[in-house]
């Protein structure tokens, strides 16, 4: 097995780049929508054969075992070439949780299936009454013999209609003194009579997220990860990693590249005001990357990230939104037009980028919630 961390950064970058450029299907580059698994299956097979599905996982579990520095390079190259992340909730979210808190049996059973995409995962946290206030969740799971019986509803479950399994936070002790207590982390199969999935159409007409209803759905009791009633703490432990991931410069950098070629083709740079706004956005991205590197270095040194990592997400998502708004401005009279707009030999789907940017300030902990966290946990403001 290759010890990638022993390779020089430059060599590693070259190798990753070459692989993407040679093997990634041209028609899947910079996909404007979230693909179903079937659409990217062929690519996933190649990645799997190469052993590159889970760059962050330790090698012993079939990952690449990359350290933080190499991981950033990997993501940068993925981004640069417009390589779709695929159906990565298994790799990004459940896998690390099982690695950290799961039993040996759970690791042996689930991890290879995540890598092969035999199981495709969706994240069942949010509920109609539990969005920002996630601890308010009500979906119940009760032990009945060797099984949990699940009743309730999840919502906004991304790609649930194309998933085989759901990892979820459920209430297992409704009488616990605090809402955060009495929540457990469960894995459950979707293909059963007690689970019903309804897609929700977004304002751009896509069907990316769903409602998932549980009516006496069942999952074996060995699908509890970690201790009973300790799910909240575990889910929180994952958050700091998630927040640096969600705060990474990639979405904004990618959008900036699209903005530049589009604006150039449209002649928008003839206007000094537009040049200024573009420069502002470009510098916002660059300086954010510098701040991001600071947090990444912390990770590289093996330190855990503090609450201050939230600032990355706030900055980059709002910057991403401004960049896509500039694209619309550059599109002028085509600014309300759906689908790719052609300029010279590039085509840019301006509205798709705009729509993609909108919910980034809502999901992953809304930006208002991130600001609350920063003001309390970092600035020490009372309240």
């Amino acid at each position: 097995m290759t010890d990638w961390n022993a390779t020089s950064d430059a060599d590693f970058r070259k190798e990753v780049r070459q692989f993407f450029e040679a093997e990634y299907p041209e028609e899947l580059r910079h996909l404007p929508h979230r693909p179903k698994f079937a659409e990217i299956e062929h690519w996933h097979r190649k990645l799997h054969a190469k052993g590159w599905v889970a760059p962050a996982w330790p090698a012993e579990y079939g990952g690449m075992g990359l350290n933080a520095a190499k991981l950033l390079i990997f993501y940068e190259e993925q981004q640069r070439w417009g390589v779709n992340r695929g159906r990565d909730m298994g790799v990004q979210m459940v896998g690390p949780l099982i690695i950290k808190f799961g039993t040996q049996e759970q690791k042996d059973y689930w991890l290879p299936r995540i890598l092969s995409c035999e199981d495709i995962w969706c994240q069942g946290y949010s509920e109609p009454g539990a969005g920002s206030d996630l601890a308010n969740l009500r979906t119940r799971a009760e032990i009945d013999g060797g099984e949990f019986v699940i009743n309730g509803q999840k919502i906004w479950t991304t790609m649930a209609h194309d998933a085989t399994h759901i990892f979820m936070l459920v209430r297992t002790d409704p009488d616990a003194p605090k809402k955060q207590q009495g929540i457990s982390f469960l894995l459950a199969p979707m293909d059963q009579p007690g689970v019903e999935v309804r897609t929700i159409t977004t304002l751009s007409g896509e069907t990316e997220f769903c409602e998932v209803f549980f009516d006496n759905a069942r999952t074996p009791s060995e699908n509890l990860v970690g201790e009973l009633n300790k799910g909240w703490t575990m889910a929180k432990a994952l958050l700091s990693f998630e927040r640096i991931f969600i705060g990474s410069p990639s979405l904004a950098q990618n959008a900036l590249g699209q903005l530049e070629s589009f604006a150039r083709g449209r002649g928008a740079f003839d206007d000094p005001v537009f040049r200024d706004r573009f420069a502002q956005a470009a510098l916002d991205v660059e300086d954010h990357a510098a701040l991001y590197a600071r947090f990444a270095d912390q990770l590289k040194r093996g330190e855990t990230l503090g609450a201050d990592v939230s600032m990355l997400k706030i900055w980059v998502t709002e910057c991403f939104q401004r960049i896509t708004e500039l694209m619309i401005e550059a599109a002028g009279p085509d600014g309300g037009t759906i689908g790719p707009l052609q300029v010279g030999n590039v085509s840019v789907d301006v509205l798709a980028s705009f729509y993609k940017a909108r919910p980034t300030t809502i999901y992953g902990g809304s930006n208002e919630i991130q600001r609350n966290i920063l003001s309390k946990a970092v600035l020490g403001l009372p309240g």
Binding site: S126, G129, G131, S132, D133, N136, I155, W156, I200, T201, T202, L203, S204, G205, F209, G265, R266, G267, D271, V273, F274, Q321, E325, I328, E329, A331, G332, P333, D334, G335, G336, T337, I338, G339, L341, Q342, V343, G344, L351, F354, R358, P359, T361, I362, Y363, S366, N367, E368, R371
Partner: protein, 374 residues
């Protein structure tokens, strides 16, 4: 100021007009009607066009001696605001501002005038062309011997219109011609818009067309009609913004998280206040512009006023609809909630006839030119 205050501070005739337009739109189904039409085929409802006509809507800004109500652009703005509130897909601003704006200035005797005012037909206006980079370019579309050749872009209302008013180059300068929608050799390509409507790209291969007017008067009338439509589109955005704000205000009062309405969090309260202030500023600015345009005769000044209105309205509508989605959380990102319809409509109305950045540039250039002339 509350909604009723602003309404009651209006002139009596405008207030009555607003009330009847609001009732008409609400009775027809409010924003739910827009959703149904979008889901059906993205067009508008010809029956609604006739109902609006019966209420005098299309002729509001046409002088009385030309068969209209003679109430001016200010009245047109009232209608546009009300159409914006329910995101009505009917060609209200298109007809009041552009098609009738052109006809009443160039050929008020033409029978199409009465048909437009009567809601029997609607006509789209094709005046812009696409250049090599995709951006607007100078007109090259040719009209000679009763035949039209060339292409036009960004035609609003191309779907459902009975014909096109086309600005072209004739033998002796600019001409305005009328082409029927079913003319042989007319090819319409539709580009789907965010709100379910479409923009037409027209191409004419020597299609038959009737000349309505020619000479410099055509350019002058076009500039005036575009200014009118620009200011009216601003009014439509004002109505849209107000309603999007009201929907959001209701939502933050009722949605609970952390055991209280999210509207009890101070950061949300301040956001709501900022949006409300923006709305009021935009409404005051745009209404003033429309009133001033009614009194002003200098074309350049009128165009500058229209730019002032559109710049303000676009900035406001963009900010309000985007913040509205944010304040709704994930439900705001769904199609099921109306707020997304307002966001999408705002995108389309913002791009039409120039966005805020464009109009600020035009406004400033006009200001400089005026300064230099003094």
């Amino acid at each position: 100021m509350t909604q009723t205050d602003t309404v009651s501070s209006e002139q009596e005739d405008l207030r009555l007009l607003r009330e009847s337009a609001r009732t008409l739109f609400e009775r027809a189904g409010g924003s739910g009607r827009a959703r149904k039409l979008r889901d059906a085929d993205g067009g508008f409802d010809p029956k609604m066009v006739r109902e609006l006509a019966e209420a005098g809507v299309f002729g509001v800004a046409v002088p009385e001696d030309q068969g209209g109500l003679g109430m001016g652009l200010a009245a047109g703005g009232v209608i546009a605001e009300e159409a914006g509130r329910v995101i009505a897909p009917e060609p209200v601003v298109l007809t009041i501002g552009l098609s009738l704006g052109l006809l009443r200035r160039l050929c008020p005797e033409h029978p199409k005038m009465a048909q437009l005012i009567g809601g029997e037909i609607s006509l789209a206006v094709a005046w812009q062309e696409r250049g090599p980079g995709g951006a607007p370019a100078n007109a090259t579309c040719r009209y000679a011997d009763g035949r039209l050749t060339g292409s036009k872009a960004w035609v609003v209302g191309a779907t459902g219109s009975h014909g096109f008013l086309v600005v072209a180059k004739g033998d002796d300068g600019p001409v305005l011609v009328l082409a029927e929608a079913d003319a042989d050799g007319l090819v319409t390509t539709r580009r789907a818009q965010a709100d379910g409507s479409s923009l037409g790209e027209l191409s004419f291969s020597g299609i038959p067309a009737a000349e309505l007017a020619s000479g410099d008067a055509v350019q002058a009338a076009l500039a005036e009609a575009v200014a009118d439509a620009t200011a009216l589109a601003a009014a439509e955005l004002v109505g849209l913004s107000e309603c999007a704000f009201e929907i959001t205000l209701d939502y933050i009062k009722t949605r609970e998280q952390f055991d209280k309405p999210i509207g009890s969090f101070q950061v949300i309260q301040h956001r709501a206040v900022d949006l409300n202030v923006m709305c009021e500023v935009a409404q005051a600015g745009v209404r003033e512009v429309l009133a001033l345009m009614d009194r002003e005769t200098d074309q350049k000044v009128r165009a500058q006023l229209a730019s002032r209105a559109k710049a303000r309205a676009v900035t406001t509508a963009k900010r309000i609809t985007r913040d509205a989605v944010q304040l709704h959380g994930a439900v705001g990102y769904t199609d099921e909630f109306d707020i997304g319809l307002y966001l999408n409509r705002a995108l389309v109305l913002s791009a039409w006839l120039g966005d805020d950045a464009y109009h600020r540039r035009i406004w400033f250039d006009a200001r400089e030119a005026e300064g230099a002339a003094q």
